[in-house]
C-alpha cells in the first residue's frame, strides 16, 4: 500500500474515493477506528479529516455495492496525507484495491511517478527525458537523455538504482538511459542540498526506485518505432518474487536491412534489469542487477565529410540488500554492491579535405563496497546514521573522442591514467522540532575519498517553518572526487557550498506552488592552464530562481508549470577562466500536462521554451604553418544559439484484445516542427557554415500489452 505524504501544511488526512473501473467519484464513508468517527465524501468523492490521531491508524472505507476495504496508515505528527482510493464493485473482486500514490519526501526533492513517465511525450521509455522537464534541469540536445542541473556538469550528478550506484547510467552519446521504465516505481531527484546520506556529487542525486513485486504474475511488452521492451514479475510464493525486464533498440538493424544507413549514427543498446525480493522473519532481502551493452560501427557522410565512429561498451551493476523493521521506530538496512562500466571509442573526423583527426579512447571504472544505514523514528526524535566502505578503480587512455567529434576546444592529446583507491564515509542526520512549527534538520557527512589523504566534512542544515505556506532555508557543503582522467599535481575533492530558500504553498491538496531561490559556489574545480597542464584550483558559481506549480496525479489529471531563471559560470578542463557552460540556459519554461479521459483515452503534452545553448562561434581562420593547412579561429566569448521551443503530444488509447489489456499510443515530437539549432557545421575552407537541427517533427507509434 502506498501513502501520499505532502511534507507541508498542518496535520490533515484527505483524499478521494472513486470507482476503480469507471473512475467516477463515490460518496463513500471513511471510518476512523480509533476515534469511532466517520467522515463522508462529498459529491466529488473527496474527504478531509482534520487533526487525525498520530500513529498507526485503521481507516475503513465503505460504500453500498462496493467491497469494503481497510487501510493501515501511519500518520506522523504534522503530516498531511492524501489518499486516492479505488473501490471495486462487490459483484466482481478480481484485483485488490488500487491506491495510486506519490510521496514527496523532502522539500528539496522532486519526484515523478511511473504513471507520469509513461504519459510524458518522449519519455515513455527514458526516465532521463522525464527528468529534463523539471525546473533547474537542462539538456544539450533533443537527441540526448543527459541532464545538467543548475549550471553543473554531467559528471557532478550521481545516479542510483535502489541506493545502488550506477557507473554507466547513460548509453554513449547520451542517447538514452539504461533503465526500463516499466520496472520503475518512482524517480526521487535531489537538487541543491542533499540529505547527508548522499555524497560524492555536487550537482544532483537521482535515486531511482524500482517497483516492489506484488502478489500477482504480470508483465508488459512494449514496442514502438525505436525500441522494444518487456517486463515480467512473478511471485514464486508468499515470500519470494522476482522481476525481470529487457529492452533493445533496433532501428539500426531495421535501417541496415532496408539499406538505409548512410548519414545515420545510431548505436544499438541492450539493457537487462532484474530484481529478486525475499521476505523473511530475518528481514527483507533484495538482489537487484542491471546489465547494459552498446555498440556501433558507423561510417557516415555529411556533405563532403566522411565521419567514422566505433563504440563498444556497457556496464554491470549488482547489489544484495537487506532491511528490517526491528520495531515501529527502528529500521536498519545494509547492502553490498558492485558496479562497473567500460567504453571503447574510435573516431575519425575530417578536419580538412587532406587531413583527418583520428582518436581512440578507452575508459574502465569499477566500484564495489558495502553500505549500512539505520533510522530511528519516534515522536520525539528522528535520527539516521550510516556509512559505507569500498574501493574504486579507474582507467583512461587516449584523448576525448567526444571533443574531436565536436572539433571545438578539443583535448586532443592522450589522458592516460590507471589508478585505484579505497573510500569510506560516515554520516548522521537528525530532525529536531525546535519551536513548533519550526523544524530543524542537521546532518554531517565525512568522506575519505580514494587517493585523497584528508577527510572532508560536509555539514548540512535546514530550517523549515511548517505552516501554510511553509518556508525553508537550507545550507550545505557537498564534496566530490574530481574526474581522474586529468593528471593533477595535487588531488583534492571538488566542492560546492549551497544555499537555498523557498516557499511552498498547497493551493489544494494536490496542487503545490513553490518558489525557490538558490546560490551555489564551486571550488576546487579542474581547469586547464596549458596543454597537458591541469590544476584543481578553479571556481564558479550558479544562482537562480525557480517557480513552479504542480498538480500531483491523483485522479485523472497531473502536470506542472515551471519557470527557471539561472546564472552560472564555471571553469572547466577546457577553459582557464569561468565561462558560461554550453548547456546552461538562463531562461527555461516547462509545461507538462497529462489527462485521462473516459473511454480509456489519455493525453500527454509537453512544452519547452528556453534560451538557446551557448556556443563559441567561428569568427575566422588562420594559417597553420606546421600542418600547412587552415585552422578555425573561435571567438573568446560565447554566443547563444536562437531560442529553443518544442511541443510534444502523446495520445494513448486503452484496448482489450484476446484477453490482454493494452495501450496503443502515438507520440509526435516537435509537432510545430520548430527548427531548434543544435550547432553549426563549417566548410573545410571555414568560409561557410550550415545549421544542423535537433528533432524535426517526428511521429512514432507504439503498443503496450499487459498480461
Amino acid at each position: 500500500m502506498n501513502i501520499i505524504t505532502l511534507f507541508i501544511v498542518s496535520s490533515m488526512v484527505s483524499g478521494k474515493v472513486f470507482n476503480l473501473d469507471s473512475k467516477l467519484p463515490l460518496q463513500a464513508h471513511i471510518f476512523i477506528q480509533s476515534l469511532h468517527q466517520t467522515s463522508i465524501c462529498d459529491s466529488l468523492g473527496e474527504f478531509v479529516i482534520h487533526y487525525p490521531p498520530v500513529g498507526r491508524q485503521y481507516l475503513i472505507v465503505s460504500h453500498v455495492g462496493y467491497k469494503e476495504e481497510t487501510l493501515n496508515v501511519h500518520i506522523a505528527e504534522m503530516d498531511t496525507l492524501y489518499l486516492s482510493i479505488g473501490l471495486k464493485e462487490v459483484s466482481i473482486s478480481v484485483k485488490p484495491v488500487e491506491v495510486s500514490s506519490e510521496r514527496i519526501r523532502d522539500i528539496y526533492t522532486q519526484t515523478i511517478a511511473q504513471e507520469e513517465i509513461h504519459i510524458i511525450p518522449g519519455a515513455e521509455k527514458d526516465v532521463f527525458k522525464a527528468l529534463q522537464t523539471l525546473p533547474g534541469v537542462s539538456t544539450p540536445s533533443d537527441y540526448f537523455g543527459l541532464f545538467y542541473v543548475r549550471g553543473g556538469d554531467l559528471y557532478e550528478n550521481k545516479v542510483l538504482l535502489d541506493d545502488m550506484e550506477i557507473l554507466a547510467p547513460y548509453h554513449y552519446l547520451g542517447l538514452g538511459s539504461a533503465f526500463n521504465t516499466d520496472l520503475i516505481e518512482e524517480l526521487e531527484f535531489y537538487l541543491g542540498t542533499f540529505p547527508a546520506r548522499f555524497g560524492d556529487a555536487i550537482s544532483s542525486v537521482l535515486n531511482i526506485h524500482s517497483k516492489k513485486s506484488n502478489d500477482m504474475i504480470n508483465g508488459t511488452v512494449s514496442v514502438d518505432l525505436m525500441e522494444a521492451t518487456w517486463y515480467y514479475t512473478c511471485p514464486l510464493n508468499k515470500s519470494i518474487a522476482f522481476s525481470f525486464s529487457s529492452k533493445r533498440n533496433y532501428l539500426d538493424f531495421l535501417l541496415e536491412k532496408l539499406g538505409v544507413k548512410e548519414s545515420v549514427i545510431l548505436p544499438y543498446y541492450v539493457d537487462h534489469q532484474a530484481k529478486i525480493s525475499i521476505n523473511s522473519a530475518f528481514g527483507d532481502f533484495v538482489i537487484s542487477g542491471l546489465k547494459s551493452k552498446e555498440g556501433t560501427n558507423i561510417t557516415a557522410s555529411f556533405a563532403d565529410e566522411i565521419l567514422k565512429l566505433e563504440i563498444e561498451g556497457g556496464g554491470n551493476s549488482i547489489a544484495a540488500g537487506w532491511s528490517k523493521q526491528f520495531t515501529s521506530s527502528i529500521n536498519c538496512r545494509a547492502n553490498l554492491f558492485y558496479s562497473d562500466m567500460n567504453r571503447y571509442l574510435y573516431g575519425e573526423v575530417p578536419m580538412t579535405p587532406e587531413h583527418s583527426e583520428v582518436a581512440e579512447e578507452e575508459v574502465n571504472a569499477q566500484k564495489y563496497g558495502g553500505i549500512f544505514r539505520s533510522e530511528y523514528d519516534s515522536d520525539i526524535i528522528d535520527l539516521e546514521v550510516g556509512g559505507g566502505i569500498g574501493k574504486y578503480m579507474f582507467m583512461h587512455t587516449g584523448p576525448k573522442v567526444e571533443d574531436i567529434l565536436y572539433k571545438i576546444g578539443a583535448i586532443s592529446y592522450s589522458l592516460d591514467v590507471d589508478t585505484a583507491g579505497n573510500y569510506r564515509y560516515v554520516y548522521a542526520s537528525q530532525h529536531i522540532a525546535l519551536l513548533r512549527p519550526i523544524i530543524c534538520e542537521i546532518g554531517e557527512r565525512i568522506d575519505w575519498f580514494p587517493l585523497i589523504e584528508k577527510a572532508v566534512f560536509s555539514p548540512r542544515i535546514r530550517f523549515i517553518y511548517k505552516t501554510s505556506p511553509s518556508m525553508y532555508i537550507a545550507y550545505g557543503h557537498q564534496h566530490q572526487l574530481p574526474p581522474l582522467e586529468y593528471t593533477l599535481a595535487e588531488l583534492k575533492s571538488s566542492y560546492a557550498k549551497c544555499l537555498s530558500c523557498g516557499i511552498e504553498y498547497l493551493v489544494t491538496p494536490t496542487l503545490l506552488g513553490k518558489i525557490e531561490v538558490y546560490r551555489k559556489d564551486y571550488d576546487n574545480l579542474v581547469r586547464k592552464y596549458g596543454d597537458d597542464d591541469f590544476r584543481i584550483d578553479g571556481d564558479g558559481y550558479a544562482s537562480g530562481i525557480e517557480i513552479s506549480l504542480r498538480k500531483y496525479r491523483f485522479g485523472d489529471t497531473f502536470g506542472w508549470l515551471s519557470y527557471a531563471y539561472s546564472s552560472s559560470k564555471k571553469v572547466s578542463p577546457y577553459d582557464a577562466v569561468p565561462l558560461v557552460t554550453d548547456v546552461h540556459r538562463p531562461h527555461l519554461l516547462n509545461v507538462v500536462l497529462g489527462k485521462h479521459f473516459r473511454g480509456g483515452f489519455e493525453i500527454g503534452i509537453k512544452y519547452q521554451l528556453s534560451t538557446g545553448l551557448a556556443y563559441r562561434p567561428l569568427i575566422g581562420k588562420e594559417y597553420d604553418w606546421p600542418s600547412e593547412s587552415w585552422k578555425a579561429v573561435y571567438a573568446p566569448d560565447k554566443s547563444r544559439l536562437p531560442y529553443y521551443q518544442r511541443l510534444d503530444v502523446h495520445l494513448e488509447k486503452e484496448f482489450s484484445l484476446l484477453g490482454f489489456e493494452g495501450e496503443l499510443y502515438i507520440t509526435i515530437l516537435n509537432i510545430t516542427n520548430h527548427r531548434n539549432i543544435q550547432g553549426y557545421l563549417y566548410s573545410s575552407s571555414f568560409t561557410e557554415r550550415k545549421a544542423f537541427y535537433m528533432f524535426p517533427r517526428v511521429p512514432y507509434v507504439g503498443i503496450r500489452l499487459k498480461f
Binding site: F302, A303, L618, I619, G620, K621, E622, Y623, D624, W625, W630, V633, A635, P636, D637, K653, F655, L657, L664, I666, I668, I671, N673, R675, L681, Y682, S683, F686, T687, E688, R689, K690, A691, F692, Y693, P696, R697, V698, P699, Y700, V701
Partner: protein, 326 residues
C-alpha cells in the same frame, strides 16, 4: 479499433518531415569585390582626414577629394624642396613630413599647399607621428629619436632627443597616450614615457623575437592592443599601465611576405608581397583572425580601409569594396 489504427497511421505519415540540416550559408555575410584601378594615382602611403586623402610619392604630397570612389581627383600638390618624402601625418589641414631635411610643416588650408615652416634635423628623418602639441620623429640610420614642439607651427622647436644604442635600425614608431613605441628590425621594442615630452625617458626594452626566426615588419596600436606584424604572423599584445607587453594571440598567414597591416574599426587589412589581400575580423580586438581573402594577383605595399572600401597602393591605387552577401 481499426478506425483508430487508420487514423494513427495517417497522422504519422502526415507528420513525417525530416529536415536535419540547413544549406550552407556564407559565414560572415560579406565578400570583397574589385571596384576600380587608378593608374594615374600613385603613392606609398594614403591617409584620410575627412573627405580628403593624402598620398605621398617621391618628393610629392598630393591631396585628393575622396567623396565618391568613381570621382577621385587631386586638388592640391606639394613638392618638397628637400627631396623624398619618407613619411607624413595629417592633422587639421596641416601635413607633417619626414624627409632628408628633417621636419617640414605644410599648410593645406589653402587651395595651393605651401611649406609653412620647417626644422632641419641632421641626417634627416624617416618616421613621423603627431600627438597633442608634439611631433615624434625617428631616423633609422643612426637610430635617433626626436621630439619637436609644434605649439607654434611657425616655429617648431626640438625639445628632446634620444639615441637608441642598437645595431639594428628603426622600422617604425607609434604613439599612444602614455608611451612612444619604437620598433627595430630585430623585433626589439623600446618604450619611452612621453608624459614629459621634453624629457624622453626609456622605461622598457622588450624583445619580441621568436624561435621561428621571423622578424619585424611593423607595429600598430589600437586602443588597448598592439598588433605586431611579422613576415608570416600577426601577434597581438595587450598594453598595460605597467609598460609590460603581454602576448595574447598569434595568427599565421599563408604568405611569407607580409609587408603592411592596417587596423580599422570593424576590420583590419593585411597586405602581402604575394597575390593575396587579407581582410581581418576585429570583432574581438584581442583575437584578430582572417575573415576574407582576396586574390588581387600582384603584391601590395600599402592598404587602408575607410567605410566599406579598401584602398590599396601597389603603388598605383586600386579600390575594392566590402559587400554584403545577398
Amino acid at each position: 479499433m481499426n478506425k483508430w489504427l487508420i487514423i494513427i497511421v495517417l497522422m504519422a505519415i502526415s507528420c513525417i518531415d525530416f529536415d536535419f540540416e540547413a544549406p550552407y550559408e556564407d559565414l560572415n555575410g560579406i565578400y570583397i569585390e574589385w571596384i576600380t584601378a587608378r593608374p594615374d594615382i600613385r603613392g606609398e602611403t594614403l591617409l584620410f582626414e575627412g573627405q580628403e586623402g593624402y598620398i605621398n610619392y617621391g618628393d610629392t604630397l598630393t591631396r585628393y577629394k575622396f567623396g565618391n570612389v568613381d570621382s577621385i581627383y587631386a586638388y592640391g600638390i606639394y613638392i618638397s624642396p628637400h627631396g623624398i618624402i619618407r613619411d607624413f601625418e595629417v592633422a587639421n589641414d596641416f601635413a607633417y613630413v619626414a624627409s632628408d631635411f628633417g621636419l617640414e610643416i605644410i599648410n593645406f588650408q589653402e587651395s595651393e599647399p605651401y611649406l609653412y615652416s620647417s626644422l632641419e634635423i641632421p641626417n634627416g628623418t624617416d618616421f613621423v607621428r603627431v600627438h597633442n602639441r608634439y611631433v615624434y620623429m625617428a631616423e633609422s640610420h643612426y637610430n635617433n629619436l626626436y621630439v619637436v614642439d609644434i605649439t607654434d607651427k611657425m616655429n617648431p622647436v626640438k625639445v628632446s632627443e634620444y639615441i637608441i644604442e642598437n645595431p639594428y635600425f628603426i622600422k617604425g614608431i607609434e604613439i599612444d597616450s602614455s608611451y612612444a613605441y619604437v620598433l627595430l628590425w630585430n623585433s626589439d621594442v623600446y618604450l619611452f614615457d612621453i608624459s614629459d615630452p621634453t624629457n624622453l625617458n626609456l622605461v622598457s626594452h622588450i624583445s619580441l623575437q621568436d624561435t621561428l626566426g621571423d622578424y619585424a615588419v611593423m607595429l600598430t596600436l589600437k586602443e588597448d592592443y598592439m598588433y605586431f606584424l611579422k613576415h608570416a604572423f600577426l601577434e597581438t599584445y595587450v598594453l598595460s599601465d605597467s609598460s609590460d607587453l603581454e602576448s595574447i594571440s598569434r595568427i599565421g598567414f599563408a604568405s611569407y611576405s607580409m609587408n603592411f597591416i592596417h587596423v580599422g574599426e570593424e576590420y583590419g587589412l593585411a597586405c602581402s608581397g604575394g597575390s593575396w589581400v587579407y581582410l581581418l575580423n576585429l570583432e574581438y580586438p584581442s583575437r584578430p583572425c582572417i575573415t576574407e581573402i582576396y586574390e588581387l594577383g600582384w603584391p601590395q605595399q600599402y592598404g587602408i580601409i575607410r567605410d566599406n572600401y579598401i584602398y590599396l597602393l601597389i603603388p598605383y591605387l586600386e579600390i575594392l569594396e566590402i559587400k554584403e552577401v545577398q
